[in-house]
């Protein structure tokens, strides 16, 4: 997918002034956040499971090639096929090739962020094959020609009346004055509209939350049932996934299945978890005659062994974005590429280059809520900080900013001078602030003072106050360690 990450600041400014978007995002607190908290609260073993999950993932990454080989050989053994794709181009062509071999006219699709990465829908359409998104959120977005703004709830940026308008416009054969004020009606209408498409499709494409090496199974974790209709009714099932999704055993799968739904939607279990292994067996009534797994690298293997390797452990639950104050203020589209929120800021620079996406690791206050909720304990803020360092060393920031940072670094490594200067500044600001009744303008800080006043300092720096306190406490026999 082409990116507009470099326009993050402009995108964010527009998003903040979009009342509809703000209304939709405002529901995250009582919605996904609250539900996750409730589900996690009811499972005392949640943290133990997080530790297990992190261990399993690290174990996989340490021997990734062996697990992938094992998965591949199990798929082949059961009559399936594996297609390796080093680049997005490889993956697109592999999918197209499979579709063309069976003369496909339409393909149904379950929700898959990797196919967003590939811009697969446009590619298939350009080649005369009609892609039909069947996940409700993705279906709505396909009708609106929009990209997902969230990795779990793709249409979270929309409100119900936006969706109703889209349906009235797109389902033109229905009475335009019909009642669409209840979400149930919208869901029912999409169900009707898509039913025939499932039966008519020649190929069904899904993603995979996991590949189980032990059994050669791909696994989808869903709620709607569209993914299952997508992969059981057509002649051909194509799974599009990425190298880091492999896990060793069915027991490991169970660990992730306890973490993923609780973290994503606050459910104890999703309505459906489906394991698919090979094509249908001889006397099975349904199931595909062909089973293909397209496995994309797309830059991920370069993360292995790097300081940022843990970003590969992501299970795409979306909790980090649901809890991120920046995501909550600007929504997913502002990030400008497939993966928004903290995971996007940590992953995107690795996949499309820090040159194109350096705005993203800066789109964080480092409050750390994402790290607190991440079910596989990815140190997201550390990773973002490292991208910032790389941005600085590659000289991608403005010369003014770099000079400022260097000056500050020079000063900060000279504690005596630093304390003297900050003490002087604090005193100066106190005097000026008192006289003017607040600080409405500050040199080098217009980014702050443009939107709010700077509080007038009390007169002493933190360092100075600490020293004084330490002295008093020392007199009382208390020691600061």
């Amino acid at each position: 997918m082409s990116s507009s990450c470099s326009s993050f600041k402009q995108n964010a400014a527009v998003a903040i002034h979009d009342p509809k978007l703000q209304g939709a995002l405002g529901k995250l607190g009582d919605g996904l956040q609250a539900r996750r908290a409730a589900a996690v609260g009811q499972l005392p073993e949640f943290d133990a499971l997080r530790n297990d999950a992190q261990r399993i993932k690290r174990q996989v990454m340490a021997d990734l090639d062996c697990y992938l080989e094992q998965f591949e050989s199990k798929v082949l053994e059961q009559g399936g096929q594996v297609h390796w794709a080093s680049t997005a181009d490889d993956a697109r062509n592999a999918v197209l090739d499979i579709c063309q071999k069976v003369g496909a006219k339409t393909v149904t699709k379950g929700k898959s962020m990797v196919t967003e990465e590939l811009e697969l829908n446009n590619f298939l359409a350009d080649n005369g094959i009609e892609p039909v998104e069947t996940d409700l959120g993705e279906y709505i977005l396909q009708l609106r020609k929009e990209a997902p703004s969230h990795i779990v709830v793709p249409a979270v940026h929309l409100q119900q009346d936006d969706i109703a308008k889209t349906f009235v416009k797109s389902h033109a054969q229905l009475d335009p004055s019909r009642d669409l004020t209840e979400p149930e009606r919208l869901v029912g209408e999409a169900r009707e509209a898509l039913r025939e498409r499932f039966f008519a499709a020649d190929v069904g494409i899904t993603g995979a939350n996991y590949m189980v090496a032990e059994t050669g199974s791909t696994v989808i974790v869903t709620n709607e049932g569209n993914g299952d209709l997508t992969q059981t009714l057509p002649k051909v099932h194509v799974v599009v996934t990425t190298i880091e999704r492999v896990i060793p055993t069915l027991e490991d799968l169970s660990t992730f299945l306890r973490l993923l739904p609780r973290s994503a939607t606050g459910q104890e279990a999703t309505a459906y978890v489906t394991l698919s292994s090979g094509p249908k067996r001889e006397d099975d009534w349904h199931g595909p005659q062909e089973f293909h797994v397209v496995i994309l690298d797309g830059g991920r293997s370069e993360l292995l062994g790097s300081e940022n390797q843990d970003v590969l452990n992501c299970i795409r639950c979306g909790a980090c974005m649901n809890h991120c104050p920046v995501y909550g203020a600007v929504g997913g589209h502002a990030y400008g590429w497939v993966y928004p929120g903290p995971i996007g800021s940590a992953l995107t620079p690795a996949l499309i280059g820090v040159e194109k996406s350096s705005a993203l690791p800066n789109a964080s206050t480092f409050c750390g809520r994402c790290v607190e909720v991440c079910p596989v304990k990815i140190p997201l803020t550390d990773i973002m900080r490292r991208w910032r360092v790389e941005e600085q060393t590659k000289k991608l920031t403005s010369p003014f900013q770099r000079a400022g940072l260097s000056a500050w670094a020079w000063l900060a490594t000279r504690p005596g001078l630093y304390q003297a200067l900050t003490g002087l500044t604090a005193w100066g600001m106190k005097v000026v602030g008192r006289r003017r009744g607040g600080l409405t303008r500050l040199p080098f800080a217009s980014g702050w003072t443009q939107y709010r006043n700077f509080p007038t300092p009390e007169g002493k720096t933190f360092h100075a106050q600490m020293k004084q306190k330490a002295k008093t406490k020392a007199n009382l026999g208390v020691r600061y360690e």
Binding site: T134, G188, T232, T249, S254, D284
Partner: protein, 217 residues
């Protein structure tokens, strides 16, 4: 794409960092090194386990009833259809076609592949999972796995003894079966649903709007 395969495996081999304490070799990769945590609620047995199962089934917005033998299944289905004011027609999937349907002549039980797309489907579960109230459905010869997702009402029959504490215990049983893992293993927890409209959960997205479980003691 064999070129891509080589490229990917070369990159992984070049970059991967072995774990300090992982002594295992690639031959026994899937031999378990450490056992993962199983929550207490997935470690129950006996009555406590069945109680947990029922609690979770109800929490998933499915309904549940118990009958004392296979003979009673047909009447239970007729009662369910009457309660929901549904016509006396259903598709019985695979082995579910073998219940003593002649006991309920008023019910039109269809068992051929042309009737898979029926509003009411009766199917048998492989196992039930107490920890989550999930039903495990597997693909089998002479059986439609699509029929688990097509109807408005899905009625699942489960022998009492097939209620197991956790997913892990189900995996043991899957391995005990002869041959490969079935093409499709579905864990079904309640009716189909979606949270895609303003994060509100709405039941009945693309799959069944209602799931009813009949446990045979």
């Amino acid at each position: 794409m064999s070129n891509a395969r080589e490229k990917i495996f070369a990159a992984i081999a070049r970059n991967k960092k072995p774990m300090q304490d992982a002594a295992e070799k690639s031959e026994n990769l899937i031999a378990r090194v450490e056992v993962n945590t199983i929550p207490a609620r997935g470690n129950l047995s006996g009555v406590a386990m069945v109680e947990e199962f029922e609690k979770r089934v109800l929490a998933s917005a499915a309904s549940i009833e118990y009958v004392s033998s296979n003979k009673d299944v047909p009447e239970a289905i007729v009662r369910y259809l009457a309660k929901h004011q549904l016509p006396n027609v259903c598709f019985a999937n695979g082995k579910a076609g073998q219940f003593s349907w002649s006991r309920v002549p008023e019910l039109d039980v269809r068992t051929t592949i042309g009737n898979v797309n029926s509003p009411v489907v009766v199917t048998e579960a492989f196992r039930g999972i107490a920890e989550t109230g999930s039903l495990v459905l597997i693909s089998q010869p002479g059986h439609s796995s699509a029929s688990h997702f097509l109807p408005e009402y899905l009625i699942i029959i489960l022998p009492y003894n097939n209620i197991l504490p956790s997913q892990e215990s189900v995996w043991e049983d899957v391995r005990q079966r002869s041959g490969d893992i079935p093409r499709t293993v579905n864990l079904v927890t309640g009716p189909s649903r979606t949270g895609d409209i303003e994060q509100k959960m709405v039941l009945g997205a693309h799959g069944p709007r209602q799931v009813h479980l009949v446990v045979v003691k």
